[in-house]
């Protein structure tokens, strides 16, 4: 989909230096009622880079994404988004930052009481920093829904769609504001292989068309392998192996492995495959080939 001018979504007081990381965690620890969910997590993501987050159920993957959005406050450490420390921001200040992030929630989190069209329009209408003229909203909503091939569902309600369709609508809602950082929480969980592949193709398409930073939580190693080795070909609209000269994708796609709230691995696919750690190698075995 066509990208809007990025200046419209940036805070006036935050000129991001070109080299600055899009997202940086520094020794972040999160606990709920003294039960740790994240412990001393540090990593950095730069523009157009991808991070695949793997980890067992309950290892803190969702909490990590929510911390990046400022939905969860860390007990210690700091989170920097586009060069700004969001750890001590008020909710009002956070709204400005969040308009630069798109998030796909694990259970889609579409608003039950709103139609698909209203759901996708929601960030355009409600985020002050977006400043989308009201007459453009409907056009951009249609574009975003066309991107996920669900244009015909405009006036339906989320409860009338299948799980996979809801996931795609939620992706449309996450990308409609053309944010420079996208967070996907388990986009393929519980879906059949064909729908799962369609959704991964959408995510790769979004990454390659707009050179944005992507964080993706997944249970399926092959999702990560796909992100690390394939690119979107705008000429024929298909995925193709990203081999050969200038293959940045494999280099800029890194895997993070979480274990009980701790970051136990960060590296490329080759490094992950070479790991002998029992916990880490478990994730690559489930790929089945």
């Amino acid at each position: 989909m066509p990208r809007g001018t990025s200046s419209s979504v940036l805070l006036p007081d935050a000129p991001p230096p070109a080299s600055a990381g899009v997202l940086r965690f520094e020794h972040v620890s999160v606990a709920f009622d003294d039960v740790p969910a994240l412990q001393d997590v540090s990593f950095e993501v730069r523009q157009a880079e991808t991070r695949i987050i793997l980890g067992a159920a309950g290892s803190g993957k969702t909490v990590l994404l929510k911390t990046a959005l400022g939905l969860v406050q860390p007990q210690s450490g700091s989170v920097h988004v586009f060069g700004q420390d969001i750890t001590r921001m008020t909710e009002q200040q956070l709204f400005g930052i969040r308009s630069k992030l798109g998030m796909l929630f694990q259970e889609s989190a579409l608003f039950d009481s709103l139609t698909i069209e209203e759901n996708v329009a929601y960030p355009l209408v409600n985020q002050k920093a977006i400043q989308c003229p009201i007459e453009d909203v409907s056009k951009r909503v249609r574009e975003a829904l066309r991107f996920v091939e669900l244009e015909h569902t405009l006036s339906r309600f989320p409860s009338e769609l299948s799980g996979g369709m809801r996931r795609r609508v939620a992706i449309a809602r996450a990308v409609v504001t053309t944010p420079p950082l996208l967070l996907y929480d388990s986009p393929t969980a519980g879906l059949d292989p064909i729908t799962a592949h369609t959704i991964m193709a959408l995510i790769i398409k979004e990454r390659d068309l707009s050179k944005i930073a992507t964080l993706i939580v997944t249970h399926r190693y092959q999702d990560g392998a796909l992100m690390a080795n394939f690119r979107y070909n705008p000429d024929n609209g298909k995925l193709e192996p990203a081999r050969g000269v200038g293959n940045n994708i494999t280099r800029t796609t890194k895997f993070l492995v979480l274990r009980e709230g701790r970051l136990v691995f960060e590296g490329t696919q080759a490094e992950l495959e070479a790991s002998t750690d029992a916990y880490i190698s478990k994730f690559r075995k489930q790929s089945g080939g």
Binding site: L69, F95, R98, L101, F105, L110, N126, Q127, A129
Partner: protein
């Protein structure tokens, strides 16, 4: 540790509740205002509760007339039944019963609605997409309840007095004109103030308790069910407790004034 939690748990809960109340109130004077949501909630709470409020109002008035007529008959004052019915209804029963009905219907409704949004991450999504859930969900419900509950109480009072009239005129052979005259003569301004201030206070209780339990819900659909029941129980109990204290304040004022 566990002992400490027994003490700190409720204190933290009360603190959280006050924080929510403070933020919901502050948002009343802050952009953006979701007037569509306010109208929607007024319709839901007001129009939706009208049938049960009318029913309870009518029958509580009728029952009061039956009971009080028997008591008054001992002194041969059955004709004063209008006085007794109107005072008990306007001062106590109208506000309390209406609020209890609305608490049963709407405090639980708010808790389940907001609770399911909470457990399906819709509240998080709201925050992620630039809206304050308190501004969008709590404040409109609070405003709507505060406007609608006193109105519902007035309706319940009228219907209740009418229910008393039906019993008095139909079953007790009280003269209809005498009944209505005694109703009007019995009511003073302080009864009306008291009768309208109570539902206004209860409106805060219903809306804030319902939203509070909804926003606190966790643990899937089971958690939503728990939040729903807790909200209804807490709101009803608080209404009873507050009725006592508000009545105490009003009666002591009267004593000191006279």
């Amino acid at each position: 540790m566990a002992l400490l939690e027994v003490v700190t748990g409720p204190i933290l809960a009360v603190q959280e509740f006050y924080l929510l109340a403070g933020r919901a109130l502050r948002n009343m004077f802050r952009e953006p205002h979701y007037s569509d949501d306010i109208v929607l909630q007024m319709d839901n709470i007001g129009v939706g509760s009208l049938p049960i409020v009318v029913m309870t109002g009518f029958f509580s008035g009728a029952v009061m007339a039956l009971q009080l007529a028997r008591a008054l008959a001992q002194w041969g004052q059955t004709g004063k039944v209008g006085t007794a019915v109107s005072i008990t209804l306007v001062r106590e029963l109208g506000p309390a019963l209406t609020s209890l009905m609305v608490a049963g219907r709407n405090a639980s409704g708010m808790a389940s609605e907001i609770g399911s949004m909470k457990v399906t991450e819709q509240i998080d999504a709201m925050r992620a997409l630039g809206t304050d859930p308190i501004q969008k969900l709590v404040t409109p419900r609070l405003i709507a309840t505060c406007v609608v509950l006193p109105l519902l109480t007035i309706i319940a009072d009228f219907v209740g007095v009418f229910g008393g009239y039906v019993v008095a005129a139909g079953m007790l052979d009280v003269n209809g004109r005498q009944y209505w005259t005694s109703v009007w003569q019995a009511l003073g301004w302080d009864d009306v103030t008291q009768g309208l201030l109570k539902p206004f206070v209860f409106a805060f209780v219903i809306a804030l308790v319902g939203c509070y339990y909804g926003l606190r819900a966790s643990g899937g659909t089971q958690g939503v069910g728990r939040a729903t029941t807790q909200a209804m129980v807490a709101a009803s109990v608080l209404i009873f407790v507050l009725t006592f204290f508000l009545t105490r304040i009003f009666t002591s004022q009267l004593v000191s004034a006279s």
